[in-house]
């Protein structure tokens, strides 16, 4: 029954967008309650669909659009967990936003844009074809641009919005190229489509991956990965995400931490069979993800702005998710479940952390952690909810982040035993740094002495409420849902015509390892593969050495203790300046974000791009314009001579007229004479 109303999931927020846009300025608090109700409605519909379809049904509705394309709704386990997470988190953030944006003159605009964002993100998640997904993908990017530049009178906010838009555009162009390539290849296959099937629909794509040439698959996968890298802030297109913190904190929580930036990961998960089949497809994903995870974590160590710390942490955790998908080359489709679990868990605790940071900023009126300190005395609720979020992010045992992140590290180890240990090493190092920077932030905000004279009050209940709810999920989601989540998500691709063994053959993955891992996950292929080989592989896959199993725990606790020794005044043993002074080149490198701005903007944009464009400009002026100008000058010169004919003397005209008549008469008579006319 609920499935019949699936369209409402997008329609309700769109309605809220229109209402807030046109009537919001007339309503109390900019009409924020409309947006809350709309997303709550979307959440209820999603929940209804979940109860109807769980555990093994999918919803697929579609109608023709134009030419070879359709619009449709595809709700499978992968989409459904995203729908639930997005609508839930976004609803809480809108509730919080009602408190946070109270009194802002642009509140109506904020809620309209936030509603549009919710609609596009939900639409992206349950689109049933790539074209529709791309349209919502762009809408999400637009909302991101609008909301980063929400305080558009501030030059830094306007610049950050522009940067975000342009940087993600680089990825989006690659994404579009990937879609076009994919469409072209599918069209070349001359597939006999049944009525109601369209080329870019996911089930059709899944069913025909095997028939596409392998080199084309790699190109397509790299194009799609480009889009994902741009949207999910992976290296080298991550530069926009830390700057995106110029928007209101609710925006950072909603778009740049919990939901939108996961769209890239979701895209890779959605197209996982294609990445799996493409030679080097998943290798590229793993490399990008693992590198970004470590790279961003190092920068998180030195940032002073509380929101930038969280932004770098987001980039790093998105790297974990990407790497989790990438190591699917060794463990198969299980990786989708593992990565999505981290995605969902991460959106709970990262939304929580951002909202806590927003609560602190709301009271203290600064983003700079050097001016905070001892805030915990005045903001108990915020302090303890943020502690839960931080423990979860750091991967402290029994918290959500512990289950999800460590599962990624474990499958990365399996990937290591079969293919390459580099992602594993990167991820473990990143996990240590995660624990350190998270608690550096927590200790320096909430403990110690007050380092400046800031506002001392707790935030209103409308803001605390969502924090508490999110804290419950950030703590409990992990051990409450882990097993069911994995089995639910692992069933995702069973709804489609996907044969992972064939795909592995195209992608050049080790078939044996593939079997072992699948057996470990599902325990059913093992016997079929015969003679206990599969079972042995299954044993091996589950039997990592004990030190691998407990390493993540040691890493998390060790990281937290390290941070405490440096930043908690009660147990402080070392001063950070003993490790790296202010002038230290390493510290400077991290603070400047590896000189990306200097390299990308200073060197690449201003020297290479500007120089190239100067040359192009010269070619344009001298060559392209040149011959055109020469031609028009010639025509003008010719006209200078021709116009002398117009003497202005009437007699000349009469004479010419008569001459014409005479010529005409002569021609006609002569023509008649020789029989031409």
């Amino acid at each position: 029954m609920y499935a019949d109303y699936a369209y409402l999931i997008v329609a309700l927020p769109v309605l809220a967008f229109l209402l807030c846009l046109f009537l919001g300025w007339n309503l109390p608090r900019g009409g924020g309650f409309i947006t809350v109700l709309a997303t709550l409605g979307a959440f209820i519909v999603s929940l209804g669909i979940f109860t109807e379809t769980y555990p093994n049904e999918i919803v697929h509705q579609s109608m023709p659009w134009f030419a070879n394309f359709n619009v449709g709704i595809l709700i499978d386990p992968l989409a459904l967990v995203m729908l639930l997470m997005v609508s839930f988190v976004v609803t809480l953030i809108h509730i919080y936003g009602n408190g946070y944006m109270n009194g802002d003159p642009g509140a109506a605009r904020y809620f309209a844009e936030a509603a549009l964002f919710s609609a596009s993100m939900l639409g992206l998640v349950y689109a049933d074809n790539l074209l529709q997904l791309f349209i919502f993908w762009e809408l999400v990017g637009l909302c991101s641009y609008l909301l980063i530049g929400f305080w558009y009178r501030k030059p830094s906010a306007a610049a950050a919005a522009k940067k975000a838009f342009l940087t993600t555009r680089v990825g989006d162009v690659l994404f579009l190229a990937g879609i076009i390539l994919l469409y072209n290849n599918l069209a070349n296959l001359n597939i006999a489509l049944k009525p109601g099937e369209y080329l870019l629909q996911f089930p059709v794509i899944y069913a025909h991956i095997m028939e596409i040439p392998a080199d084309q698959l790699t190109l397509i996968a790299l194009g799609l990965l480009g889009g994902a890298v741009g949207k999910s802030g992976q290296f080298p297109l991550h530069v926009w995400l830390p700057d995106a913190m110029e928007g209101p904190t609710t925006v950072s929580a909603m778009i740049h931490a919990a939901t939108m930036v996961t769209a890239g990961v979701y895209l890779v998960a959605r197209m996982f069979p294609l990445f799996y089949a493409a030679p080097y497809g998943l290798t590229a994903v793993a490399a990008v993800g693992a590198f970004t995870a470590l790279f961003a974590a190092t920068m998180g160590l030195t940032a002073f702005d509380i929101k930038r710390v969280l932004a770098f942490s987001t980039v790093s955790q998105l790297g974990f998710m990407m790497a989790g998908l990438g190591v699917g080359a060794a463990v198969g489709a299980v990786a989708v479940g593992v990565s999505m679990f981290h995605l969902i868990g991460h959106s709970f605790f990262k939304a929580l952390l951002f909202l806590c940071a927003g609560s602190v900023i709301h009271a203290v009126n600064t983003n700079d952690m050097r001016e905070m300190g001892g805030v915990g005395k005045y903001m108990k609720w915020t302090m303890y909810t943020m502690l839960i979020g931080s423990l979860s992010l750091a991967g402290f045992p029994l918290f959500t982040g512990f289950f999800s992140k460590d599962e990624i590290i474990v499958i990365a180890y399996e990937y290591g035993t079969m293919i390459n240990f580099l992602p594993y090493i990167f991820l473990v190092l990143a996990a240590i740094l995660t624990a350190i920077y998270t608690f550096r932030m927590w200790f320096s905000v909430f403990t110690g002495k007050e380092r400046s004279n800031y506002g001392k009050h707790e935030s209103p209940m409308v803001m605390i409420g969502p924090l508490v709810i999110l804290a419950v999920f950030a703590f409990g989601f992990g051990f409450a849902a882990q097993e069911d989540f994995y089995s639910y998500l692992d069933s995702n691709f069973e709804h489609y015509d996907v044969n992972f063994e064939h795909l592995a053959a195209i992608g050049g993955h080790e078939i044996l390892g593939e079997h072992g891992a699948e057996a470990a996950a599902e325990g059913e292929h093992a016997a079929a593969e015969g003679e206990g080989g599969g079972e042995a592989a299954a044993e091996e896959a589950h039997g990592e050495p004990w030190y691998i199993q407990i390493l993540p725990i040691i890493v998390a606790i060790g990281g937290i203790l390290t941070a405490a020794l440096f930043y908690w005044d009660k147990v402080k043993k070392f001063d950070p300046s003993q490790v790296t002074g202010d002038k230290d080149p390493l510290r400077q490198t991290l603070l400047k974000g590896y000189y990306q701005h200097e390299i990308f903007t200073g060197w690449f944009a201003e020297t290479v791009v500007y120089g190239t464009s100067l040359i192009c400009n010269m070619i344009d002026i001298k060559l392209v314009d040149g011959w055109l100008n020469w031609l028009s000058a010639w025509v003008l010169g010719f006209a200078q001579h021709v116009r002398k004919v117009q003497t202005g003397i009437v007699q000349n005209y009469v004479a010419a007229l008569m001459l014409g008549v005479v010529v005409l008469v002569v021609v006609i008579y002569l023509g008649k004479g020789v029989g031409l006319i």
């Binding site: 117009q646 003397i649 009437v650 007699q651 009469v654 004479a655």
Partner: protein
């Protein structure tokens, strides 16, 4: 009955005189008179051919043509007066503001 050849001869003589005047003369009023000659030579042709075959269509056309010529002369002289006021002359060689 005047033979048709004589009428055509008269008409073509008038036409040639008018055309000659039109090409050689500079004075606006003389030009107007030449144009009248051209028109009337055509009128003579119309009347002559009309009388040749028992039919008044051509003569009716000649009347229309005379009325049109009167109107044209009215407009033409008005333009000449306007030109005279502007330039102080109606010598068309001096009136060349519209050429290149």
């Amino acid at each position: 009955m005047i033979p048709l050849e004589l009428s055509i001869l008269l008409a073509s003589t008038m036409f040639t005189i008018g055309l000659y005047g039109l090409i050689t003369q500079k004075n606006g009023i003389k030009l107007m008179m030449c144009i009248e000659l051209l028109l009337n030579s055509a009128n003579i042709n119309l009347v002559a051919f009309s009388a040749q075959q028992p039919n008044v269509n051509g003569q009716v056309f000649a009347l229309f043509s005379i009325a049109l010529a009167a109107a044209e002369a009215g407009v033409g002289f008005a333009i000449l007066i306007a030109l005279y006021r502007l330039y102080g002359t109606i010598d068309l060689d001096n009136i060349n503001a519209m050429r290149w």
